[in-house]
Amino acid sequence: SSGSPLDEGSGEVSTDTIVVGSQAYYSNEIIAEIYAQALENAGFTVDRQFNIGQRDAYIPALESGEVTLFPEYSGNLLQYFDPETTARTSDEVYAALPGALPEGLVVLDQSSATDQDSYTVTAAFADEYGLASIADLADVDVPLVLGGPAELAERPYGPEGLLSVYGIEVGFSPTGDTTFEDLEAGTVNLANIYTADPRIETAGLVVLEDPEGLFLASNVVPVVNADVADEVADVINQVSAALTPSGLVALNVQSTVDLMAPADIAAQWLADNGIS
């Protein structure tokens, strides 16, 4: 089957068919496509239920069994189920996950690749105010405007988290899918950007450190319906082991710079990593 985002999900939990979901996020879709192809190569029948918007939209689908496998981000996932969690490092988060997940959902091995929320500024802005960490923002004497997706306003790590954890007051601008451009254009001076975004590298952005652990570490981790966890574990764990932080950025570059289709990127990555 091709890597199109079209194939249908079935609805009932079925052990014959693995329903792989993905967020409406191109990078997540590539990982899901890798899962799907790896499974197909191993002889599974796969349904793709890609582009399901945000976590809040697809978790119910996972819980109901409408989707059985999903590439997730450990920190955000944990915080979704346990907003009060104190876990911050990658291992703490991974260890806390099984307890937080609802009945019927389990995580397989997490990969070393991370793609987590961050607060990022331009190099020029960082230079001007000597910024290296979020805490340094306290020294900035211009009004801070934070850009990010609409829902950031309500997230624990959003403007309120910034205020309560770092004592930093910011305005908020819901820049949505153009946060990066807005940062470049100067309509915002602080941006919520995912750390696997290749443009951090190419545009020379500065990701501010997060000493107080506002953001949880977020590694790529497969969430899977418990009914099929054992069946797919071998194949998917193999993928997770091979997926590295720089590898993830490279995948994103292939998509946004080389304009390759997710199916082609996935196939090539699987071949390069000898999983097929």
Partner: protein, 236 residues
């Protein structure tokens, strides 16, 4: 029903009535974009429509272009324009999108208004010695006004419902509670947003319906009761 109660609670929460994302601000933004887009569209479409109706020329082209404009997906067009124009020109991108949305209805309203006038009436106006301009201003425009305002109604309704997507590109408006509510699965706020948009649309539509009634020249009002408004004529 629970959802309705929640939406009502959300609506009546004082927190929603102030600040950057407060309902008054959002309402003004929604109205502002609607008014600006419909205004600009009218400035373009109405004279053009009158010209088409008066001269009888260019109708085919107008129908074809209107058909294509109507097929344009606003959401995609908005994204395309932002990518092309850049994030600093979001308002322009949004305005262009909404203007394109409003033009077909207004254009059709302007020319069908004139076309729907009994030819004998226009003929009579010429026969008594009216100049072309007098025919246009004294006969065609007044008699075509109800259908034009009908077109204005349709355009306004379409635009005010569509301005909702402005929130998707950080332009605020009543779409904000919806756009923010969806990823957060806060349905009370989504429903409240939808109610606000629908209510605004209804109020605008009712106001324009009154205007349409008032615009119907008195002598004509006796004849046809049902207010009508044009669609883009997909009819060839």
């Amino acid at each position: 029903m629970n959802l309705l109660v929640d939406a009502w609670l959300w609506l009546t929460d004082p927190a929603q009535w102030s600040g950057q994302f407060g309902i008054p601000t959002l309402l003004l933004q929604q109205l502002g974009y609607t008014a600006a887009a419909v205004g600009i569209a009218a400035a373009i479409a109405v004279p053009t429509g009158w010209a088409i109706g008066h001269t009888g020329r260019g109708r085919e082209l107008a129908v074809a272009l209107s058909g294509a404009a109507r097929a344009l997906p606003s959401f995609g067009l908005l994204i395309l324009l932002i990518l092309v124009l850049g994030v600093t020109r979001r308002p322009e991108a949004a305005l262009i999108t909404f203007v394109l949305l409003a033009i077909p209805s207004l254009l059709a309203g302007a020319y069908t208004g004139i076309e729907a006038i009994d030819r004998a009436t226009i003929d009579a106006a010429r026969a008594v010695g009216m100049t072309r301009w007098q025919v246009l201003w004294r006969v065609e425009i007044p008699l075509g006004l109800p259908l034009l305002i009908g077109g204005l109604r349709t355009a306004t309704l379409q635009v005010v419902a569509t301005v909702t997507i402005a929130a998707y590109v950080n332009l605020g408006g009543l779409g904000w509670p919806i756009i923010q509510g969806i990823p957060l699965r806060r349905f009370d706020q989504v429903l409240a947003g939808a109610i606000l948009v629908a209510a605004l649309a209804l109020v605008l539509d009712a106001a324009l319906a009154l205007a349409q009634r008032a615009s119907r020249p008195r002598g004509v009002r006796v004849l046809s009761r049902r207010p009508r408004r044009p669609l883009v004529s997909a009819a060839a």
